[in-house]
């Protein structure tokens, strides 16, 4: 068999759905974080007059969640929640903002029990679930940063040893930028997907109007999920894990390079091809003109790397790429080559067993095995019955 692109797109979509957060779990997480938000809002904080603002950031906000795998085992989802206090950065300190939020969480017996020791930037609540896959809710205390580029810029707290400082961030600005890259496809897929989600989970969603936008996935979002899962499995051991491409880099570059393709294969292959077009940068050679003009990945005269935050060019996501003889840059481009080979060249594989084996290794056996039929069986045509070729049939039996 050589694989049909339409079928392969449908297959990739299903696999991405498998590694995504499931709608029920999503609703569950939303309910929990809203409850945490209400609890924080109802607190009284010295010097605060306005209202707190609580909102998700990161993959949960962007719709690019991937069920994490650590040491080959599926682990808890990480959900980042910004807790923006109505305080001015110059009238308070990072330490007092961080401790106000921590103190308020500890006033609640449940949260006190779920709370981890203080983290570098956040307070973590550990929700374990009966089925073993729960989530960590990371609450990031923050204040509005009037000096930021956009009005949405915030300052988050940063604790190193016992010293606290501020770091710049802008999750709302980044979210809006991502949405703008995603909008064309979102408008085209949302109705059909909401119908499917509603039909698939009638107990969770009474009607399609109750299916949240946050559960719709465009080919861009799916491509990011697949790339992240591929990354997680490729770098799932200690020696390599610190050089693994970080999610914000994958997400940013993919969103920049996405060309509004509406099927999964074309979306993914477009992104991977354009990423490969940057590979010459490792040897400090020039890249193709139109990619160079975009300036997404740049080499500085001193050899250091630059991948800018699209809503804050002062922030360089690749600020550590030159370390250890450019280890992160090399790992990134080697990974891009592997994406091409593992997820795109597989179309030319003719042996179904090898297709299953290879895809299972790079995307997770469980997710791949379940949807392999899409690739192996001919797609049903309208008004013609599905065609099945029987191999290894069972002998019929009777109980008594």
């Amino acid at each position: 068999m050589t694989i049909d692109i339409r079928k392969y797109s449908a297959f990739l979509e299903q696999v991405a759905g498998e590694i995504d957060i499931q709608p029920g779990k999503y609703q569950d997480a939303v309910n929990r974080y809203r409850a945490v938000g209400r609890w924080l809002e109802e607190g009284s904080y010295p010097g605060c007059t306005g209202k707190l603002s609580i909102y998700p950031q990161g993959s949960f906000r962007l719709g690019t969640v991937v069920r994490p795998i650590r040491d080959g085992i599926e682990a808890c989802y990480d959900i980042d929640l910004v807790c923006e206090m109505p305080l001015r950065k110059d009238r308070t300190t990072a330490q007092s903002v961080k401790s106000m939020v921590g103190d308020r969480l500890r006033e609640n017996a449940t949260y006190k029990r779920l709370l981890d020791p203080e983290g570098r930037r956040c307070w973590t609540l550990e929700y374990a679930e009966q089925d073993g896959v729960g989530f960590h809710l990371d609450v990031l205390p923050a204040v509005l940063d009037g000096s930021g580029l956009l009005s949405t810029a915030i300052a988050i707290t940063n604790k190193v040893g016992s010293a606290y400082s501020w770091s710049a961030s802008d999750p709302r600005g980044y979210g809006a930028w991502f949405d703008s890259r995603n909008k064309f496809a979102f408008d085209r897929v949302q109705l059909e997907q909401k119908q499917k989600l509603q039909r698939g989970a009638p107990l969770v969603f009474a009607s399609i109007d109750t299916v949240p936008d946050q559960l719709v996935r465009t080919p861009l979002q799916r491509a990011i999920q697949l790339m992240k899962r591929h990354r997680d499995l490729r770098f799932d051991y200690q020696e390599r894990i610190e050089y693994a491409p970080i999610s914000i880099i994958i997400t940013t570059l993919a969103a920049h390079l996405y060309g509004n393709e509406l099927d999964e294969y074309s979306a993914l292959s477009g992104i991977v091809r354009k990423l490969q077009g940057h590979a010459a940068l490792v040897e400090n050679r020039a890249i193709e003109g139109c990619l160079a003009t975009l300036g997404l990945i740049q080499r500085r005269p001193d050899g250091k790397w630059y991948i800018g935050n699209p809503v804050n060019p002062a922030e360089n996501f690749a600020d550590r790429w030159h370390e250890d003889n450019h280890a992160r840059a090399r790992a990134f481009f080697a990974w891009v080559v592997a994406l091409q080979k593992d997820l795109l060249n597989i179309l030319e594989e003719t042996n179904p067993r090898l297709v299953e084996e290879h895809l299972g290794r790079v995307l997770g056996t469980a997710a791949v095995t379940r949807h392999l039929d899409i690739l192996v069986l001919p797609a049903p045509m309208i008004d013609t019955p599905p065609r099945i070729h029987i191999t290894g049939a069972a002998k019929p039996w009777r109980e008594g």
Binding site: I388, K395, W397
Partner: protein
């Protein structure tokens, strides 16, 4: 109904569009409708047919497999492979699980078990013989399955095999239950491993009961003898039931 099952049903109905009715009954989800197919098998003719079927999927799926009924009244009593309750006997339970686990989804279940069964029925109706052979009825069919997959002849050996699986799961360094005197891994290791992987707590237990019942009846008639270690093992296992 779990979310996972909801998604599996969505995948199933996207492929087999006629299975459009979904209802809840107690701890089961019932998916029913028309199942048209065009099926072929190596060296055999292509058959295009359509049946009305009803799949009863327990909440414990995939640990427990769905029950299937043909509701259009096509498969009559002249065809032996259904139960008194009308459910289709797709295969002996352990074989059904083995095939199911090759692609453990609802769609895989329909494509690899239900459609081959219906194809087999159509073929039998037309030619008077079973294209994929047929299993003996009842407990004997279960026992034969063990003898056939392991290439054994003595019925007491099938009992020794199921006792081994029920008591130990898979242990490569044990003596092979076939009685060859070799270690399992040097003898029936691969086939026993497949059986072990296929079983869950409940299926290994019910096969043990089935094979024991069958053999015990013959033992009482004096047609079968059990060596002493096997008798002691049976007693130990009965305490587990």
């Amino acid at each position: 109904m779990t979310e996972d099952l909801q998604r599996q049903i969505a995948v199933l109905t996207a492929f087999h569009k006629g299975l459009a009715n979904i209802a809840r009954h107690d701890a089961d989800t019932v998916v029913s409708g028309t199942l048209p197919f065009e099926a072929s098998a190596d060296g055999l003719e292509t058959i295009t047919e359509s049946f009305e079927i009803e799949l009863t999927v327990p909440d414990a799926f995939p640990e427990s497999l769905p029950r299937v009924r043909e509701t259009g009244g096509r498969i009559g009593n002249d065809y032996e492979h259904h139960n008194a309750s009308g459910t289709l006997c797709l295969a002996v339970p352990v074989e059904q699980r083995r095939i199911f686990l090759e692609n453990p989804t609802l769609l895989g279940f329909v494509n690899r078990l239900v459609i081959p069964y219906l194809y087999g029925y159509c073929f039998w109706k037309k030619h008077g013989r079973h294209p994929f052979d047929e299993a003996a009825h009842g407990y004997e069919g279960i026992l034969r399955h063990y003898l056939d997959t392991l290439g054994l002849a003595d019925e007491a050996k099938a009992l020794a095999v199921i006792c081994y699986l029920f008591e130990h799961g898979y242990r490569g360094h044990h003596d092979c239950p076939c009685g060859s005197g070799l270690r399992v891994r040097a003898c029936h290791g691969p086939a026993l491993m497949i059986l072990h992987r296929t079983h869950n707590q409940q299926t290994v237990r019910s096969d043990f009961v089935a094979i024991f019942e069958h053999c015990f009846a013959k033992f009482q008639d004096g047609q079968l003898s059990f060596p002493t270690p096997l008798r002691l093992q049976i007693l130990r296992l009965f305490n587990r039931l």
